[in-house]
């Protein structure tokens, strides 16, 4: 059959639009996973045992099973209990929760490594425990884990390809649409890979800049 890249221009706009959706879903899921990660870390460390233990079981299950399986559970499970979310929202929730668990692991370690004197000092100047956590301990911990969280976000971009399986029209599914019309899988998957690679390079560049700024301000 051979290769023929001249078919690409006609379908370029579909694939580009898919690329925009991929960026959108990555940003939305990244935000969810960042703030979710902080929340999960605080729950895992400070919540009463009755909440903490069931929570840790859920975390264990999320870390021990594939994302694709979790996406099926969320997408079809929500329909079963009568919540009919658009595929995009289900995809963001699935990706966001999955990476929130990984971020939470990082943030927990960081919170524990913030010097105890910080909490004591904050309490001494009259802050409540939750204020001290929110305004003193957590901000310091989060700063320390921004580089590894960046790695998770780059992994999130690549895993966002999985939401094509539940029908979100992002980059991968858009490439599949173009393939459906042209029967040229090699060309369009390669095009999609090129887009992912470029977005990936941009994210790595931003990550390096942020890391440099953090190391300068220390």
């Amino acid at each position: 059959m051979g290769l023929d890249f001249t078919v690409i221009p006609k379908y370029l706009d579909i694939v580009l639009l898919g690329g925009l959706w991929t960026i959108g879903i990555t940003v939305a899921a990244a935000l969810l996973s960042f703030f979710g990660g902080i929340l999960f870390a605080v729950i895992a460390l400070y919540a009463p045992a009755m909440i903490r233990w069931p929570f840790k079981v859920v975390e264990f299950v999320f870390m021990g099973t594939p994302l694709l399986l979790q996406l099926f559970l969320i997408y079809f499970g929500l329909v079963q209990i009568g919540v009919d979310l658009p595929a995009f929202v289900a995809g963001v929730i699935g990706l966001g929760l999955h990476f929130a668990v990984y971020n939470s692991e990082l943030i927990q370690t960081a919170i524990l490594s913030v010097d105890k004197g910080q909490m004591e000092a904050a309490r001494t100047v009259g802050l409540s425990r939750s204020q001290a956590l929110r305004k003193v301990v957590v901000p310091q911990a989060v700063r320390a884990v921004i580089p590894p969280i960046g790695n998770n976000m780059i992994a999130l971009l690549k895993d966002s390809a999985l939401v094509s399986v539940i029908g979100v029209s992002e980059l991968t599914l858009s490439a599949q649409r173009a393939i459906g019309a042209t029967y040229r899988p090699f060309e369009f998957y390669l095009l999609a890979a090129a887009f992912y690679y470029v977005i990936n390079l941009c994210m790595e560049w931003v990550q390096r800049r942020i890391e440099r700024r953090i190391s300068l301000s220390r």
Binding site: G2, L3, F60, F72, Q80
Partner: protein, 215 residues
């Protein structure tokens, strides 16, 4: 929860779990081979090999494994590569995880102090002997734990071959979710099996890691 249904379908999940284990073992072997070759290329004296190694790592870590799998399986026939879904799964995932393992192996090797190599040369060992008898044994100890992390990731990424219709755990779960409309029960069945596989592997890696430590 529909336990009757779960009891009725669990043998299919067990069978599928065996496929997942087969996939994981074969992929891990290919990944380790690619990782060793990749690390050798990246540490080579020859600029061309270093470039090839770096390009391999950058491209395969910089694009989604799912897309790589699709290019190989659906795009392969266009360039004369016709593979069964299972074969495409092993090769696609193995080459992908090999890029991650390249960095793990390279990282362990370059973290061994240069003085070790120099001392070996001083004692009359050739450069080759110095690497095999002095640097590599020390680096191998450092590799066990991070390679275990790669292995954990690999086992979970075998789920991707569900998208090219290999009947493994995730594909089986997906199919039964579609035919029974019981997503939670099917997730539970597949999830328990995944956790058993991943937990056992993790313990084995931890045991090996303890065995190889000198201290």
């Amino acid at each position: 929860m529909d336990t009757d249904l779960m009891l009725r379908v669990y043998p299919f999940f067990l069978e599928a779990a065996l496929v997942t284990i087969q996939l994981s073992v074969l992929t891990a072997l290919l990944g380790l081979t690619m990782g060793a070759l990749g690390a050798a290329a990246r540490l080579s004296r020859f600029g061309v090999l270093r470039f090839i190694g770096a390009a391999y790592v950058s491209v395969f870590r910089g694009t989604p494994a799912l897309i790589q799998l699709f290019i190989l399986y659906f795009g392969g026939p266009q360039v004369g590569i016709q593979l069964e879904a299972f074969e495409a799964g092993v090769i696609g995932l193995g080459v992908n995880v090999g890029a991650y393992m390249t960095e793990t192996i390279r990282g362990a090797i370059i973290s061994i102090d240069k003085g070790q190599r120099e001392a070996a040369r001083t004692l009359g060992l050739s450069q080759f002997q110095g690497f095999y008898k002095v640097t590599l044994p020390q680096a191998a100890r450092l590799m066990v734990r991070p390679l275990g992390v790669n292995l954990n990731m690999l086992i979970k990424s075998t789920a991707l071959v569900a998208a090219i219709s290999v009947v493994e755990l995730t594909y089986t779960a997906q199919r039964y979710i579609g035919s029974t409309y019981k997503p939670f029960e099917m997730f539970l069945l597949a999830g328990i099996l995944y956790i058993i596989i991943i937990y056992t592997t993790g313990r084995a890696v931890a045991w090996l890691d303890r065995r190889v430590q000198i201290t």
